[in-house]
């Protein structure tokens, strides 16, 4: 317990840890800021997007105007138009010098989709109606669940991992690990008091980030997310304990931990397959957006298993070290 207290104090007073907390805070708030700004801006009536149309197509003009776009006739004057629509050929010319042209393209695109959809409904004699939708802008909601929440969960765990990698390695270099190995503390006690401060620190920081996010985005299964974070950081921290107990040098340990980071990032770009459901980023997005279902339960259980397995292996690696030493 004393060792646990000492390690916790070291983690909290570590300057690197404090800097990482600051960087995480900045990243999360920046993402949230971008999320709400994008969503606000694209629907803001103050956004001065001007689109020039060549014909007097009332349906198109009405749609554009109700989307908050100022519409002018193309022939009259093209000054300050972000985009010019040639409605007979369907061609759109944009003014690339203005950063607002991107918004114009997005709006024209969605309006063109709506128009085609309505026309197709009419032609095929099909009615489509929807009820009880949220009265809010949801253009970037995929970004919220697919990106911001996974980052808030994965980032603290990755930081804990990269900080924890040094802990046993440094004790080995300074030869203070030998004191621990000859002490009456069991392997389990040593690993527990080494790993848990990092696991707890990452869980607590991700609680803070999720709370921050919940002010903007609706998050379901808050407790389950924290459980995920706990097991995920338990797994990563235990892996880094194993690395730092086995690695011969700092360079090697850093190289291996960079590799683990690269693998985690690579898992994001692997194309869709049946296993995709159990990739960390996907699981986090699903937990935050869905009600509990079987694949979430299976995912969390296997993560829990992986976490405890890695923890047991870390304990064993301390045992190996003790056997070699004694």
């Amino acid at each position: 317990m004393d060792l646990f207290k000492k390690e916790s104090k070291e983690v909290i007073s570590d300057r690197a840890f404090l800097v990482s907390i600051l960087i995480q805070f900045i990243t999360i708030s920046l993402l949230l800021f971008l999320y709400s700004t994008y969503t606000e801006v694209i629907h803001s009536p103050n956004l001065k997007i001007t689109v020039a149309v060549d014909t007097n197509n009332t349906i198109l003009i009405n749609r554009l105007e109700s989307a908050g776009v100022r519409v002018i006739l193309a022939n009259a004057s093209n000054e300050n138009a972000n985009a010019v629509i040639n409605s007979s050929s369907g061609e759109v010319k944009t003014d690339p010098t203005s950063i607002f042209s991107g918004f114009a393209i997005a709006k024209i695109n969605s309006i063109s989709k709506e128009l085609s959809f309505d026309e197709a409904l009419e032609e095929k004699n099909f009615t489509f109606s929807s009820f009880n939708l949220a009265n809010e802008n949801t253009d970037f909601i995929q970004m919220a669940y697919g990106l911001i929440i996974p980052i808030a969960i994965i980032m603290p765990a990755m930081v804990a991992m990269s900080l924890a990698i040094q802990s046993i390695l440094m004790e080995r270099k300074k030869r203070t690990i030998e004191l621990l190995l000859v002490s009456p503390l069991s392997n389990f006690d040593i690993i527990l008091s080494k790993a848990f401060p990092y696991v707890l620190a990452s869980t607590v920081s991700s609680i803070a980030w999720v709370f921050l996010i919940m002010r903007t985005i609706q998050v379901s299964n808050f407790l389950l997310l924290l459980l995920f974070e706990f097991f995920f950081s338990l797994f990563l921290v235990s892996v880094s304990m194993i690395i730092s107990a086995k690695a011969a040098s700092v360079k090697e340990a850093n190289a291996i931990s960079s590799l683990v980071g690269m693998i985690t990032i690579t898992s994001i770009v692997i194309p869709y397959n049946p296993l995709s459901l159990y990739f960390p980023a996907v699981m986090i997005a699903r937990i935050a957006s869905n009600a509990l279902d079987s694949s979430i339960v299976i995912g969390i259980l296997s993560l829990c298993f992986a976490g405890f397995l890695a923890f047991a292996m870390a304990t064993k690696s301390i045992g190996d070290m003790r056997n070699n030493f004694v």
């Binding site: 061609e91 026309e119 090697e252 997005a285």
Partner: protein, 505 residues
């Protein structure tokens, strides 16, 4: 002679570390697998967000469907949607228990969607709408197609290429941290200091060894990358750019490890600095997207790599490379200065004063040190300026007046900081060192800007004089205890010239 044997020794340390080499190879392999996967993901990106191309939002929405219609089969193909086929009563029960985000009731001529008033229900509705749309317009061309083609796909591919190419550098530049910080912690550095080699030679040997390692791997890497689907029209040019960026990261790592007190700190600082370097180059390259800022993208060496992937035959950015070499030289100079101070041996962080003293010792003359400080000031100023440009761009549409004022103020402040470190005492010293700092600064700036602005004479000579004048002015003010007033005067002088240049005056 010592330096050659030192380099051989350092290189052997790197190459014979089996596990490190293994992780390098695995890292290259992972990057190689990532490239085609990411490129494939980008090719899905025609409309909508990049996120819909990446499998991160798999089954984030669940929809209960009632009835039979081809649109439901179409909906099931959407990876974002989890479809539950059920009856009407059960469907609304699930909706009430918040188990699904929406209910879709469909028959042969009508479809109704019921959400539950949350943002995700809107996402579910648009997925259903898309599925119905795809079924209804199966063979019919869109009635009114306005989809603009910006060539986004190839643009994103070319932007991603430099990023993917540069990622292995994070691993490749680790040995220099090991051989500086870790050698000190293990007292190996004391043995090295006891050899006849000077400290300058010891540090240079470490940098050269790491650089040779990167050069060797670079040849393999550039060839492997071309096998995995990125083709460069001029691989040799890409290789040179790659090496220069490697050199930059390695010298920055040498600098941070010489400055930091422990391995931990050095590792953290190096990962921050390498991330900043790669991100900065990458984000400047993305300015290619807007024709208005495409010219600014030329300030990043990564742009050349991006253009090479696009198949364009762009000219090699020689000026940019020269400028980067100046930055590298400044970083190395500072690293050697830090390495030579006693603070390094005692693992204490050297202060700026000590660093300057180390530099003075190395260059053996105050005028040379002042000239070098001009380059150092420039190396720090340019990334700060890029960030400032980005911020201004974010806040307002480009406002030339505001932009120029901020950029000029940043330049003058950093040059003034250099003077306060040199601490001239007499007025003539102030003028001399001030103009030397300004001259070195102006020289680097002219090299950087030459390919962008084509008014050669004005760019090459007059601005250098302006820089020298304005900092000389600050030198006079500083030695006569009027630092703030003279700084303002220097900013005004410089701003007036720049305004004249863009035609405001």
């Amino acid at each position: 002679m010592e330096i050659i044997s030192l380099v051989r020794w350092e290189l052997r340390n790197i190459l014979f570390d089996k596990k490190f080499m293994l992780s390098i190879i695995i890292g290259m392999f992972i990057s190689l697998v990532t490239i085609p996967l990411l490129m494939q993901a980008v090719s899905y990106f025609k409309e909508g967000t990049l996120l819909s191309a990446l499998p991160v939002s798999i089954k984030i929405i669940k929809i209960a469907t009632v009835g039979e219609h081809p649109a439901i089969n179409e909906l099931e193909k959407d990876v974002m949607v989890d479809v539950v086929r059920t009856d009407e009563k059960n469907a609304f029960e699930m909706l009430g228990k918040k188990e699904v985000h929406g209910v879709f009731i469909v028959d042969s001529n009508s479809g109704k969607f019921y959400g539950r008033g949350v943002g995700l229900s809107n996402l579910a509705e648009s997925s259903v709408r898309n599925a119905v749309d795809r079924i209804l317009r199966k063979d019919v061309k869109p009635a009114f197609n306005l989809t603009p083609d910006l060539g986004l796909e190839s643009l994103i591919k070319s932007l991603l290429a430099p990023f993917l190419l540069l990622t292995p550098l994070f691993l490749w530049s680790l040995p220099i941290i090991q051989s500086i910080s870790y050698d000190r912690e293990n007292k190996i550095i004391e043995i090295l200091f006891a050899t006849p080699a000077s400290r300058k030679e010891i540090l240079l040997a470490k940098v050269i060894a790491n650089m040779l390692f990167a050069m060797l791997l670079g040849v393999v890497w550039i060839n492997l990358v071309q096998l995995s689907g990125l083709n460069f029209s001029n691989p040799f040019g890409v290789y040179i750019i790659f090496l220069v960026i490697a050199f930059l990261i390695i010298s920055m790592n040498a600098l941070v490890s010489a400055l930091s007190a422990s391995v931990n700190e050095a590792t953290l600082a190096s990962s921050i600095s390498s991330t900043i370097i790669v991100t900065l180059f990458f984000s400047v390259t993305t300015l290619k997207v807007f024709p208005a800022t495409a010219l600014l993208a030329r300030l990043s060496p990564a742009t050349y790599i991006a253009e090479q992937v696009g198949g364009g035959a762009s000219s090699f950015p020689l000026n940019l490379i020269l400028m980067l070499l100046i930055v590298i030289a400044s970083a190395l100079l500072l690293a050697i200065s830090a390495f030579s101070t006693e603070a390094f041996a005692f693992a204490v962080k050297p202060g700026i004063k000590q660093l300057y003293e180390g530099m003075l010792e190395l260059l053996k003359s105050k005028t040379k040190a002042a000239f070098a400080m001009g380059f150092v000031a420039f190396s720090i100023t340019s990334p700060v300026q890029i960030i400032a440009i980005a911020l201004i761009f974010l806040i307002s549409r480009i406002n030339i007046l505001l932009l120029l004022a901020v950029l000029v103020a940043i330049e003058e402040v950093f040059k003034a900081l250099a003077i306060t470190i040199i601490k001239p005492r007499k007025t003539n010293e102030g003028v001399l060192y001030g103009s030397l700092v300004g001259l070195a600064f102006g020289l680097s700036e002219s090299i950087l800007l030459a390919p962008i602005v084509d008014i050669f004479i004005l760019i090459r000579i007059v601005p250098m004089v302006v820089h020298a004048l304005s900092t000389g002015l600050f030198g006079i003010g500083y030695t006569n205890k009027n630092a703030l007033a003279s700084l303002l005067l220097a900013i005004l002088l410089h701003l007036a010239y720049n305004l004249y240049l863009v035609g405001y005056l």
